[in-house]
């Protein structure tokens, strides 16, 4: 270290230089996981396997170390058990939302944003917002399509809210459950280095639904090709985030199973989007012109019969 110079500000050397002086010192580095290899190779007592786990986001090694001393086992019906899933800031949530709509091939969503802190706040509120956005936009587009027609009396359909809620919440919880079970089963057969916990998969799926909220608002526009382009763009963006997330988990498996898993993920995602659009935004357009036409012709025939 440089000589102490009274009240002058001292520049601290880099971690590498300090470690060069004292090889046994423990260091704390705050930064990307990418930086870790340089420090860990110098400090003693770190096996390569721990390094791999830290890099690839496997949370189990961290948690077992921390929890070995104190067992904080709160029962699952108390609030304390669920408190650890709501430990997020505004910026973390906003970052995760941004990460879910901008797929970058080098950045794995789970590793970069979730990093063994999966939260339930994001998935729950994004699903709730999506349910209301779809229900409200469906009613508005229904209202706008039939704005000029005198026969159509506008009635808000609240039954659509419950159907939307059931569909979206079951997609956000059952598909991650199935995927997690499938990955666990394959994990026991093939040695994968990457495994995601159930809550991390729920988190990824929840945040990937965020892109459908602005899409649902854009679906109010009654032009068909605008709606289809919106669906395609939304699907591509969030679908690619899902693919980038789950590809490392299946790439070590047999070729066919890996491709089947990834295509199942994409197909289910597409099915949700197209199903929502078809059920909430398209159906009345097909039915009502026929009904109103037949009512009009029915009135004419009734009046014709009456006059004779």
């Amino acid at each position: 270290m440089a000589a102490v110079d009274g009240l002058q500000f001292q520049e601290f050397d880099d971690a590498e230089n300090l470690l060069g002086a004292n090889r046994d010192a423990t260091t704390i580095s705050i930064g990307d996981p990418n930086e870790k290899p340089t420090n860990q190779r110098r400090s003693l007592g770190n096996s390569p396997r721990e390094e791999d786990d830290d890099l690839l986001g496997n949370a189990d090694s961290d948690k077992t170390e921390l929890l070995a001393g104190q067992r904080k086992s709160a029962a699952f019906w108390t609030f304390e058990y669920y408190q650890k899933f709501f430990d997020v800031d505004t910026y973390q949530v906003l970052d995760r939302i941004k990460g879910s709509v901008l797929p970058l091939p080098s950045k794995n969503f789970v590793r970069l944003y979730i990093r063994s802190n999966p939260d339930l706040y994001g998935p729950f509120w994004i699903c709730a917002t999506l349910v209301f956005a779809i229900a409200i936009s469906g009613n508005i587009s229904n209202f706008l399509v039939h704005l000029g027609q005198p026969q159509y009396h506008y009635m808000p359909e609240f039954r659509k809210v419950t159907i939307a809620a059931t569909a979206i919440y079951s997609y956000a919880w059952l598909v991650p459950l199935a995927l997690w079970g499938f990955l666990m089963w394959r994990n026991s057969k093939v040695m994968n280095i990457v495994s995601y916990s159930f809550l991390e998969i729920v988190c990824v799926y929840g945040y990937s639904l965020f892109i459908y909220i602005p899409a649902a608002i854009l679906w109010i526009i009654p032009i068909e090709w605008v709606r289809w382009i919106t669906i395609l763009v939304a699907m591509c963006l969030s679908g690619s985030v899902l693919v980038i997330t789950f590809w490392p988990a299946v790439r070590d498996d047999h070729r066919r199973i890996a491709i089947a898993t990834i295509s199942a993920v994409i197909i289910l995602h597409a099915l949700l989007a197209v199903g929502c659009k078809a059920y909430f935004f398209d159906a009345p357009q097909i039915e009502v012109p026929g009904v109103s036409g037949s009512i009009a012709s029915g009135n004419r025939t009734v009046t014709a019969v009456k006059t004779h």
Binding site: Y82, Q83, F85, F86, T90, Y121, W125, A128
Partner: protein, 136 residues
């Protein structure tokens, strides 16, 4: 915020119901039901998100006091209809005002830093339901 005072909130809820009555809508039961459900939901959410515990009375007190701008919105509805662009913008401003003040009190009481917007969003949904009641 150690003393939970429910007088103010009850007076404001009654004032909201009275101004809605002046506009021709009898919605006392809806106001009561939405307040109770919203209070329980916010109580659950705040207990999950903060380290210190909150009582239901404290949550009810804060939510009730921050309902005051909604009372001004519904008194505006007596004089002119809110079903237009101006009404919508006014309703959005009032919702934002209510939810930001409620979330500010919550995070200062419970020492949850960096989570103001996360608390403001559910509050905005709750006050949005009140605004729907007022506008439509």
């Amino acid at each position: 915020m150690n003393e939970t005072d429910l007088t103010g909130p009850v007076v404001f809820c009654l004032a909201l119901g009275a101004t809605l009555l002046l506009a021709g809508k009898v919605h006392f039961s809806y106001v009561y039901g939405i307040s109770v459900i919203g209070c329980f939901a916010m109580h659950a959410l705040l207990n999950l998100m903060s380290m210190s515990e909150v009582s239901c009375g404290c949550v009810a007190s804060v939510l009730g006091y921050c309902l005051l701008p909604m009372v001004t919105l519904s008194s505006c509805a007596v004089f002119f209809s809110l079903k237009g662009i101006i009404g919508t913008i006014l309703a959005l401003i009032i919702i934002g005002w209510c939810s930001l003040s409620a979330s500010k009190i919550f995070i200062s009481t419970l020492a949850m830093d960096g989570q103001q917007l996360l608390i403001a969003y559910p509050c905005a949904l709750l006050y949005g339901v009140f605004a729907l009641l007022t506008v439509f």
